[in-house]
Symmetry: C2
Subunit: 205 residues, 2 copies
C-alpha cells in the first residue's frame, strides 16, 4: 500500500501523471471541448500556472494523451487477436473489431489521437513511437494473412494500408453521428470487416 501524505505538500509529487488522468477524465465526460489546462489543474488541485512546469504548451499535454491512447489501442488489438483461433482472417477481423470497440468506448480519445497533426514530425517522438506500435499490430495481421496465402501476391504495404484504412474508417464512422443509429452498428462493422478479408468467389475477374 502506498501511504498518502497526511498533510498536503507544497510539491505535488507526480503532477504530470495526475494531469494526464485528469485530462482523460475531462475528455471522457465532456468531449474535446471540455479539455483545458485550467480545468485539469483544477481537478488536480493545483494552480493553472503549475501545469506549465510539465507541459510547456497545451499541445504537449494533448500529445501525451494521444500517446496514451495509442498504447491502449495497441493493447486492445493485441488482446483481441490473442483470444481468437489461429486463422489469419479471423484474427484480422477480431483486431479490426477491437479498433471499432475502442472507438465506441472512447470516442473523444480516438478523435484526439487522429486530429490535426501535432507540431512538426519529430516534435513528439514518444507519441510517434506509440502510434507506430499500434500500426505494427495491424502489420502483423497482414503478415499472417500473407503466410496463409491471402493477398500473398500483393505489395504488403498496400495490404497494410487497406487494412488500416478499413478498420480506422469503420471506427471513425461509428462515432461520427453520420450513421442512422437504429441498426446494430457493431454487427454491421463486423460483417463489413469480414467482407473485406473474405474473398468473394463470384467475382468475374
Amino acid at each position: 500500500m502506498i501511504q498518502q501524505p497526511a498533510s498536503k505538500p507544497y510539491h505535488h509529487g507526480d503532477l504530470e501523471s495526475a494531469l494526464l488522468v485528469a485530462a482523460l477524465d475531462l475528455i471522457a465526460k465532456g468531449g474535446l471541448d471540455a479539455l483545458s489546462l485550467r480545468a485539469a489543474a483544477r481537478l488536480v488541485g493545483v494552480s493553472h500556472a503549475a501545469v506549465y512546469r510539465h507541459f510547456p504548451k497545451k499541445e504537449h499535454l494533448v500529445a501525451r494523451i494521444a500517446q496514451e491512447g495509442f498504447i491502449r489501442l495497441a493493447a486492445a488489438m493485441e488482446m483481441a487477436a490473442a483470444q481468437v483461433a489461429p486463422d489469419a482472417v479471423a484474427r484480422m477481423v477480431a483486431t479490426g473489431l477491437a479498433y471499432v470497440d475502442f472507438a465506441q468506448a472512447h470516442p473523444h480519445h480516438l478523435r484526439l489521437m487522429f486530429g490535426a497533426p501535432l507540431g512538426r514530425p519529430g516534435d513528439f517522438p514518444d507519441m510517434e513511437r506509440a502510434g507506430q506500435a499500434a500500426r505494427a499490430v495491424l502489420d502483423t495481421r497482414v503478415d499472417e494473412l500473407r503466410e496463409a496465402g491471402v493477398f500473398a501476391t500483393q505489395d504488403p504495404e498496400v495490404v497494410a494500408m487497406a487494412a488500416w484504412g478499413q478498420a480506422h474508417g469503420l471506427a471513425m464512422l461509428l462515432i461520427s453521428g453520420q450513421l442512422r443509429s437504429g441498426a446494430n452498428l457493431r454487427d454491421l462493422a463486423e460483417k463489413a470487416l469480414t467482407l473485406a478479408w473474405l474473398r468473394d468467389p463470384l467475382v468475374p475477374r
Copy 2:
C-alpha cells in the same frame, strides 16, 4: 454584374452567407482552432454580437459548415465517377480517390464534418440531408458493382458500409499525420482502394 452599394449600409444583406465564407476561410488557413464566431464577425466587418441573429450558437455555424462540406464532397465524388469508363470497379475506385483528394485539399473541413456529433439527431436536418446525399453517391457505386456481379451475393448494406469505411478511413489517415510522409500517399491510397474491390484469385477460400 451585381452592384456593390456605395456606402456601407446598416444591414449587411447576406450576413449568413458572408459568415460561412469567412468561417471556411478561417478553417482553411488556420485549422479548426482558428474558427471562432468573433473572428468570423471581424472578417465580415460586423460586431461579434450580430452573429447571433443568424447562428444562435457556435454549433449552428459549425453545422452549416459541415453541410457545405457534404455538398462539396458529394459533388467531387460524382464528378470523379462521371469522368471514368463505365466499369463498376473503376468507378468505385475513382469515387474513393475523390474522397481522398477532398481530404488532402480540405483536411480541416473534413475533420469538422466528422467530428463529435452535433446536437441530437434532428437538430440540424439540412446537414443530415447533405450527409445522406454524400453517402448516396457511394451507395450508387455499390449498386453498380452489384449489377456487375461484384459482391452480388452479399448484403448491400454491408457492402456499402465496407465501401464507406474504406474510403473514409484512407482519407482520414492521409490527413492524420500518422503516416510517414515520404511515400506517395495518394498513390498508395489508390492501390489500397483497388485492392479492396479487385478480388484476389489466389485466396484459398
